[in-house]
């Protein structure tokens, strides 16, 4: 019985007309949480965390670099899952979610690449190396760009969403490649320190800013995604009376 209620509930909120005002209510709260978490994360990362005994102050780049890299993969997974849901159940809202994910995920990927480069230069002596981790992250960036270009090249929004979803799903194979690249290949990039079962290799004063920034970036992603989804809903639902009433009531 509960499942039926959940399905009915999901169906209700999956309608653009219900989702649009709901997203509008959520955005200020998500934005507020993002600002508070970013402030806390910056304080912990810049003032509380100690410099690394080997890498000195450059270790503070990690509090941007690692959460950005996590988000680059997480947002891709959300985009692919939303695309799959749109393909299987034909849910328009999932199409707009997938579409909103692409530019945000591409931004996080670019940020991970830029900050990695800025960290690599002083520590490795090179802005870029064709290391497995760096290369697979660069491929992720191209996948995002490809998904966006493919969507933009097709006029009909539903066909565009379907094509983009299929490309996004094919590109999912790259996600485990990025994750395991530091184990499968002999890389210059250091292996993971967080999330290794039973082997904490990171001190709390470093872990706390890292996790705070990661949660802040997650709330930020939700905020930015809802903003983009609302824009797309207005455009795609312009032939409905509720959008017309909403637009005309706003003069």
């Amino acid at each position: 019985m509960v499942e039926i209620y959940i399905l009915i509930g999901m169906h209700k909120y999956a309608s653009p007309k219900t989702f649009y005002p709901l997203a509008g209510t959520l955005i200020p709260w998500l934005a507020g949480a993002t600002v508070l978490l970013l402030a806390l994360g910056l304080y912990l990362g810049l003032f509380v965390a100690p410099p690394d005994y080997q890498q000195g102050e450059t270790v503070r780049i990690m509090f941007i670099h690692v959460p950005a890299a996590w988000m680059s993969m997480f947002v891709y997974a959300v985009m692919a899952a939303a695309g799959a849901a749109a393909l299987v159940w034909n849910v328009k809202l999932m199409e707009t979610l997938a579409s909103a994910c692409a530019p945000i995920g591409a931004s996080f990927t670019l940020l991970a690449l830029i900050t990695g480069s800025l960290w690599g230069k002083p520590m490795w002596g090179a802005w870029w190396v064709w290391d497995a981790r760096l290369t697979s992250e660069l491929i992720l960036f191209f996948l995002y760009i490809g998904v966006m270009a493919l969507r933009a090249s097709i006029d009909d929004p539903r066909r565009a969403a379907r094509a983009a979803a299929i490309l996004a799903l094919v590109g999912v194979v790259n996600i485990p490649v990025i994750h395991f690249s530091v184990e499968w290949w002999n890389t210059l990039h250091q292996p993971a320190s967080v999330g290794r079962m039973g082997k904490p290799t990171i001190h709390l004063s470093i872990l706390m800013p890292l996790l705070t920034m990661a949660v802040a970036f997650t709330f930020y992603f939700l905020t930015a995604a809802l903003l983009r989804m609302r824009n797309e809903i207005l455009e795609r639902e312009k032939h409905t009376s509720w959008v017309q009433e909403l637009v005309e009531s706003r003069r």
Binding site: G56, T58, I64, A68, S107, W119, N231, R251
Partner: protein, 56 residues
Amino acid sequence: MNWAEFFSMGGYALYVWSSYAAAAVVLLLNIALPLRRRDAVLNALREFYRLKGRSR
């Protein structure tokens, strides 16, 4: 604490602050662009309904 020392980041100021600046740019753009787009969409739709109303 000493602010000059803080900003010098142990001699790595360029790398550390460039990273934080890049993050600031990315985070601000992904909010500013959809907000600007929202105004554009609302204006375009207002025009769309005006023309639609006139043709009826």
